[in-house]
Amino acid sequence: MNDNSQRGAALFALIQDLEPDLIQAAADFVPPCPSVRRQRRRGLIGLVAGVLLLAGACAYAVVEWSDLFRDHFQPSTVVIEQLRDSVEAVGATAVCGDYILTINQTLGDSYTIYLDLDITFPASQPLWELLQRDAAGEWDLSILPWVDFLPGRIAYEEVAGLNPEQLEDFLQGRRFGGGGSLNIEAAGADMETNTLSCLISFTKRGDSISSYGPWLTLLVREINDPSGQAVAPGPYVISWQPQNISPQLEYVISDSGQEVGQVLLSSFRLEVELYPSEQRAAAYAAAKAEQGELTFGSKPYSYPQVSVTLLDGSHFTGPGSFGGTASDDGYVNYRLIFNEILLLDQVASIQVGDYTIIVNSGE
């Protein structure tokens, strides 16, 4: 047996003594019936059409988007109507010692969530003393919370007063597997209520947020000034049950009858996964032989040309950030997080490298 197999065999033997409840749970797990999965995929695609028909046919109550979301996304009336299940008026508040966290609204789906978050400081710590004014007299919103998203429900009492090392110990085994992308910006400050408003977004990598259970927790480790000094020591937490729903299109990419990858498209993100293949591994080996050591960007399959074409023939210009991984055997995970909202009924096709996926012929 070669060295690699021997190392694997050693690990196979080592995990023999995993805790029995894990082994029992794996044996007891009953997967959803395959036919249900296939129906669900068709159902998701059908849901788009269903939402659009309803939007045109009748009037219904929609949540009025918060000023923060309106300022950021500039949504049209059509967007507000079509994403009526994506926005949720949460109104959750958590008192964490002298600080108060309030989630006003959330926007997103089971993979991506935007938070309209308020942090109210104690009266003894007026925001006007923490913030500077710029030359135009506007407040320079330069203090930011340092946050994590965690699955499950955590009470403030569980983390109150923990120092960073203790907090790390507490967080062991509580994080999402696979991580995700996080973006934080301070969006406003109300000096009368001593409240800082923040727009925070989180996109889960790989599996969905909801697959970890109904609860989601925002952990504010501390709030920092531009020099990295903590102006509010933390930690603070707020947990709630997100209800944001948005249609998602799922496509399988096939080549010569073989399933070679998949594409997931929602109003908030595009995720492309190409499975390991001998062809891409060979392309990698050839490029390496020609160019020497390859960095991520120079790998022959690192960045498949990905674009979303709309029904009017234009390309969607919303992608804001991308991330991904590519390995030597040709596995590619490529993720675009949009900074504009994409209306799925306006999508004509998705291009992934040489593959074209027709979404809507426009007829």
Binding site: M1, N2, N4, S5, Q6, R7, G8, A9, A10, L11, F12, A13, L14, I15, Q16, D17, L18, E19, P20, D21, L22, I23, Q24, A25, A26, A27, F29, P31, P32, C33, P34, S35, V36, R37, R38, Q172, G173, R174, R175, F176, G177, G178, G206, D207, S211, Y212, V252, Q258, E259, V260, Q262, E273, Y275, P276, T325, S327, Y331, N333
Partner: protein, 185 residues
Amino acid sequence: MEDDSIIDLYWQRSEEAITATADKYGQRLQGLAFNITHSRPTAEECVNDAYHAAWNSMPPQRPSYLLPFLAQITRRLALGRLDYERAQKRDVRLTLVFDELADCLPAAASVDSQWEDGQILAVIGRFLRSLPAEQRAVFLCRYWYAEPLADLASRFGYSQSKLKSLLYRLRRQLRSELEQEGVEL
């Protein structure tokens, strides 16, 4: 029959304990032993030896989870019977599992090793508990129960490509966890 009742039979030294165990878990234990040894006669011997070991262990033991208790014995016996050289030459299925698992391990040169098996197990256990239930089950069915990819794909309703991709992602995640902890095996 409930597990507690079967365990009671062992404690009462009733030979029905073996029959009840075989009725309830025999097929599953045979499958596990076969996935490792790829030999029906050897798998049968392993399972029979496992029943014997269980008979000798209860009492004094009273396991909280009977299936994992029996499966751990069976798995250990099957691994002990495995002819690694033969497996390498003739039965690629289990060596595939080993090769896949090797992906999880950090490069030996990049970490220093002061780790006890129990500490590594704790990291792996925490990693598994952080996964959604379905992914955790897929990982363990493949790497603990050594289920063939085709069977696993069929049971979970995945294409084989999708299953390979999921397993690949999970191995990478585990490797990242182990690297963060500085683990070497």
